[in-house]
């Protein structure tokens, strides 16, 4: 593998995604080409139904592309089945979701430890504690999601996503469920933690403010990449 390729966090060529079959088949992504280099901060913009979330699903290994070539952090995702994709994500990719999706029956500490345990890291609880302290939740370790505010839940989600020190962090509208003030705090935290851990960041957003903090913005419309510019 060339040096350029190892520095390339995302390398996607002619990626398509079709959901459903027969007459009900819908083309969601229609031939996307995208390269993202290490350390980039990339924002994906687009109207509802433009294919943003689907592109993120394919690039993060949550969904298999129907055709095309996808290499993520040096790992060829093309042709991997769902379980191999799950293994490939471990320690390599972190994901933050709009609706937080913490495990409701686990404490904040346990939530953050789970991906580390899945990645067979040593001392996951020590690392999880450090990660929560880093997002300012050192005093909320044993709280359950239902006992945390929306902002706190998203902090836990960020800690959980970055705990394994992934090379690549995906965030799907991370401030979409939060008020403006809390959203701004979370945005700061997200960028700050990415800088601290050295993760490359891909963020889906509707917020111009959030997009403006990235160094590159791409725009999707109807499953096609229609703009790619520096922010």
């Amino acid at each position: 593998m060339s040096e350029t390729m190892t520095d390339m966090m995302i390398h996607a060529r002619n990626v398509t995604l079709t959901l459903g079959s027969g007459e009900g088949a819908t083309d969601i992504l229609r031939g996307i080409d995208l390269d993202v280099a290490r350390g980039e901060r990339l924002a994906i913009l687009g109207a509802s139904g433009s294919g943003k979330s689907s592109l993120m699903a394919v690039l993060s290994g949550l969904e298999r592309a129907t055709s095309g070539e996808v290499t993520i952090v040096g790992e060829d995702f093309t042709g991997l089945d769902e379980d191999r994709l799950a293994q490939a994500r471990r320690g390599r990719i972190g994901i933050v979701l709009q609706a937080f999706h913490l495990l409701p029956t686990m404490t904040a500490l346990e939530n953050v430890a789970v991906p580390m345990e899945l990645a067979a890291m040593s001392a996951p609880f020590v690392a999880a504690r450090a990660e929560l302290e880093a997002v300012g939740l050192g005093h909320r370790l044993d709280h359950y999601p239902a006992q945390l505010s929306g902002g706190e839940q998203q902090r836990v989600a960020i800690a959980r996503a970055l705990g394994t020190r992934p090379a690549l962090l995906f965030a799907d509208e991370p401030t979409g469920n939060l008020d403006a003030v809390t959203g701004a705090v979370i945005m700061d935290l997200l960028f700050e933690r990415c800088d601290a851990t050295g993760s490359t960041l891909v963020v889906i957003t509707h917020e111009p403010g959030l997009a403006a903090r990235c160094n590159r913005v791409i725009e999707l419309a109807d499953g096609l990449l229609v703009a790619d510019r520096a922010a």
Binding site: A57, A86, I95, L97, P104, T105, E117, L118, A119
Partner: protein, 828 residues
């Protein structure tokens, strides 16, 4: 960390320790395992009680018994050479006191009685045989013949010297037609009841250090025509033992069926539990868990909950033995052995855990398919489970359940038929469920929005229609079957008994005084119907080329080969019988001895016309050729004999006659008095008493049927509850949207009722068919009764069943009505 360890670490953390969503699984298994463990443990405790107290129950280590013939001097010498011997004589007799005559079981014992155990009287004395002229009597008789009073047996008078509190060998004595009266053996000749041809049984019980079987072998070798019926301490009460093991097997099958039905409910509940976990599963996958790990996490959670339920169930089941032992100490015929029997507990645990695993197979396979990407789209619905993924997880536990059931059965073929029938009914109902779902999706949409929604509720994704049809179908089928069987049973009994049952059986009517007897009865009641038949007792020793002694097992239906049977002879075909093959012998027949055989015995043994039958009568082996087969109408309650011989085959043997006496109302006392005066050695048995005893057995069977029915119906309710809870989320959503649009809760309740009614109406038709076919098979094939179900009772039972279904279904739906739209819209 290994896959399983990691799964356990995450699964334990993720488990809701209040078992929310898994309570149906927990309680179904708890109850099912407890019932199985209790039935199995009780049966084992009784069987062990029988086995361990075998010598006491039998009254010796080995018993030699035969009719009406004392042991010869040589036989006595042989018995005495092997150990201590107790001789007793048992017969049905009549105790006469003042103007009352009471049928009793007379038991004359010698000084050696009892060889084992202790005979205790109500006044706490431990005694042996009564002193001369005295009798120990059963408490049931003491109410009518009090302590210190006198009564007559035949021509001798006895004084009641004690009331029996504990007769050690009671269970080994078997069925008796009256309360026991125990007298000294040496007093018996004075009663005049032991005449040539009288019906009595003589028993020699031996306490020996030798093995019982070696003693039996020696005696049989020394006296091949001895005609002894033998029992050993290992099989002291064979009838009771057989009844116990069959009853236990029957109840186990019923509970197992209920557990299998509950399994459908468990499957629905597990599916609903895992559906509620879909977001969690998707999140775990986003974090890097593969589907195998997801399956393991939830399999371990289910096994943990199922394991706790199983342990709890075993605990409750184990308590059944000491509890029953304490609560029913006076009622049970034997003391229960309260030691824990691991076998039945292992079986119960195996059935419980395997049912849970089989029930969870498809939901688990489906849960593992929840797509991680769903979290990005707000839809985390699991995909359709490929059959190949779920099937092995279902097939392996199902095969193990079958293997356990067959392996532990004493009659595996019958068990296999039974389980096959249950499986066929389940498959049929599941097919109907699929058909209903397809039909609901295909029929044109009705205009009424409620009807449209009710139909949609039957075929929407995630609708529990198939499970619901199976649950309703099984429950309603059981309702129909039980109603039809019981009403047919009652109709048959009501039709046959009052018209055809005689008032009395008379035993030991002297043969040369038959006409005198008839005249005596008629003098007391001129319209009496008296039917006299010769009654002898013999043992069938062989048929065709087969010797009964060589059979490893008595074939099903050939109960006549077990022990002594009543034999008779007749010039003409007896009333209540009809020839099915062959010819009846002519009057005054003088040729080689002939016999007419019951059709059922022919079927059981594969007999043909012309085959030779051999039997021992008073120590002499006799032979007769089969001249005809008869169908016997067993429910006439007269004397019916499996074997009827030509008169020349038996008439030379000394014997007495027996009689059935049919009387008009109010004539009983006069006839009883007349016979007691002129025929002191004749025993009169009121048929009502016999019917009461039969009725007690029938009541016991009824309790078992009711037990079975309630187990199956409970299982059906569990399924219903599980299914409605599985469908709750979709219903809540519909309900909330409809309420936002202006529907009232009353309208929503009607919508649910409409949906259940639509389904129940369809299922009722099928359940009626299945239940009636099942009942018809039981009534006509198993009992050979006429098919006379009460249509009103069946219809009423179905209606009651439907109401129960509706109430349970609606009760399960109430939480969906209680959902507050504002809150529900934010969370659904």
């Amino acid at each position: 960390m290994s896959g399983w360890r990691l799964a356990w670490t995450i699964g334990r953390r993720e488990l809701d320790w209040r078992f929310r969503g898994l309570r149906l699984l927990f309680f179904s298994l708890l109850i099912g395992v407890a019932a199985l463990a209790a039935v199995g443990s009780l049966a084992a405790a009784m069987e062990r009680g029988l086995a361990e107290r075998g010598s006491v129950i039998l009254g010796g280590d080995v018993e030699f018994a035969r009719s009406a013939r004392l042991a010869t001097a040589k036989e006595r010498t042989l018995f005495a050479s092997t150990g201590r011997v107790a001789e007793s004589i048992v017969m049905t007799s009549t105790a006469v006191t003042g103007d009352r005559s009471i049928p009793v079981q007379l038991k004359a014992v010698d000084g050696a009685y009892p060889l084992y155990g202790a005979l205790r009287l109500a006044d706490r004395r431990t005694v042996g045989a009564p002193p001369s002229g005295e009798a120990w009597i059963d408490p049931a008789l003491a109410a009518r013949v009090p302590l210190g009073s006198t009564f007559r047996l035949g021509t001798a008078t006895f004084r009641v010297g004690g009331v029996i509190a504990d007769e050690p060998d009671r269970l080994g004595e078997g069925f008796s037609l009256g309360p026991v009266v125990m007298v000294a053996r040496r007093d018996l000749p004075a009663t005049g009841l032991m005449q040539p041809g009288s019906l009595f049984e003589i028993r020699y019980r031996i306490a020996t250090a030798a093995t019982p079987q070696s003693l039996i072998d020696r005696t049989t070798a020394a006296f091949p025509a001895g005609g002894w019926e033998t029992k050993t301490r290992d099989n002291a009460a064979p009838g009771a033992g057989r009844f116990l093991s069959r009853m236990a097997e029957f109840l186990t099958l019923i509970v197992l069926t209920a557990l299998v039905i509950a399994g459908i409910g468990i499957a629905n509940a597990v599916a609903s539990f895992l559906r509620a976990r879909q977001a969690t599963i998707a999140t775990l996958k986003v974090l890097g868990a593969e589907s195998g790990l997801v399956r393991r996490i939830y399999a371990l959670q289910l096994v943990w909950v199922a394991g706790l339920a199983t342990i709890g169930g075993l605990g409750i089941g184990m308590l059944a033995v000491p509890l029953v032992s304490r609560a029913a100490a006076g009622v049970l015929p034997i003391a229960l052995d309260t030691k824990v029997a691991p076998g039945p507990l292992f079986l119960a645990a195996g059935f419980g855990l395997l049912t849970a695993l089989a029930a969870a197979a498809f939901p688990l396979a489906r849960a593992a398919t929840v797509p991680a990407a769903g979290l990005l789209r707000g839809s985390v619905d699991a995909r359709r489970t490929p059959l190949a993924q779920g099937l092995p997880w279902l097939a392996v536990p199902a095969a193990l359940i079958l293997a356990l059931a067959l392996g532990s059965a004493t009659r595996p073929l019958l068990t296999a038929y039974y389980l096959g029938a249950v499986a066929a009914v389940l498959v049929l109902l599941a097919g109907l469920g699929l058909l209903v779902r397809w039909a609901a999706a295909t029929v044109p949409r009705p205009k009424s929005p409620f009807l449209r929604l009710a139909l949609a509720g039957l075929h929407r994704p995630g609708a529990g229609t198939v499970g619901l049809v199976v649950a309703l179908g099984i429950g309603l089928t059981m309702f129909v079957q039980i109603a039809a069987v019981r009403s047919s049973f009652d109709a048959n009994l009501a039709r046959n008994i009052p018209e055809r049952a005689p008032a009395f059986f008379a035993l030991d009517v002297p043969r040369d005084r038959a006409d005198d007897f008839r005249a005596t009865v008629r003098s007391a009641s001129p319209s009496a119907e008296v039917q006299l038949v010769p009654l002898l007792r013999g043992i069938i020793t062989g048929y065709g080329a087969t010797n009964v002694a060589d059979l490893d097992e008595i074939p099903d239906g050939a109960w006549a080969l077990r022990g002594e049977r009543g034999l008779t002879y007749a010039e003409t075909l007896p009333p209540g019988s009809s020839l099915t093959e062959g010819r009846w012998w002519p009057r005054g027949y003088r040729g080689p001895p002939l016999v007419s055989v019951d059709d059922r015995l022919r079927e059981a043994l594969g007999l043909k016309l012309g085959d030779e039958l051999r039997f021992i009568l008073y120590g002499v082996e006799r032979r007769a050729r089969i001249a005809s087969f008869r169908r016997i109408d067993w429910d006439t309650l007269g004397f019916n004999f499996v074997l009827v011989l030509s008169p020349n085959a038996l008439a030379d043997v000394p014997h007495n006659m027996s009689a059935t006496i049919g009387l008009p109302d109010g004539a009983d006392a006069a006839v009883r008095e007349a016979i007691a005066g002129r025929f002191p050695s004749t025993s009169l048995v009121p048929v009502r008493d016999v019917l009461e005893q039969v009725g007690e057995v029938a009541a016991g069977v009824s309790v078992a049927i009711a037990w079975a029915a309630s187990a199956a119906i409970l299982a059906g309710i569990a399924v219903l509850a599980g299914t409605t809870s599985a469908m709750r989320e979709a219903r809540t959503y519909d309900g909330v949207v409809l309420r936002v649009l202006g529907a009232t809760r009353g309208q929503l309740l009607r919508l649910q009722a409409l949906e259940f009614l639509l389904l129940a109406a369809l299922v009722t038709i099928v359940a009626l068919g299945l239940g009636l076919v099942g009942a018809w098979l039981i009534i006509t094939m198993l009992f050979d009764f006429a098919w006379e179900p009460d249509p009103w009772l069946v219809a009423g039972t179905v209606a009651a069943g439907l109401i129960v279904v509706l109430l349970v279904g609606l009760a399960g739906s109430l939480p969906t009505l209680a959902a507050r739209p504002s809150r529900a819209l934010r969370t659904l």
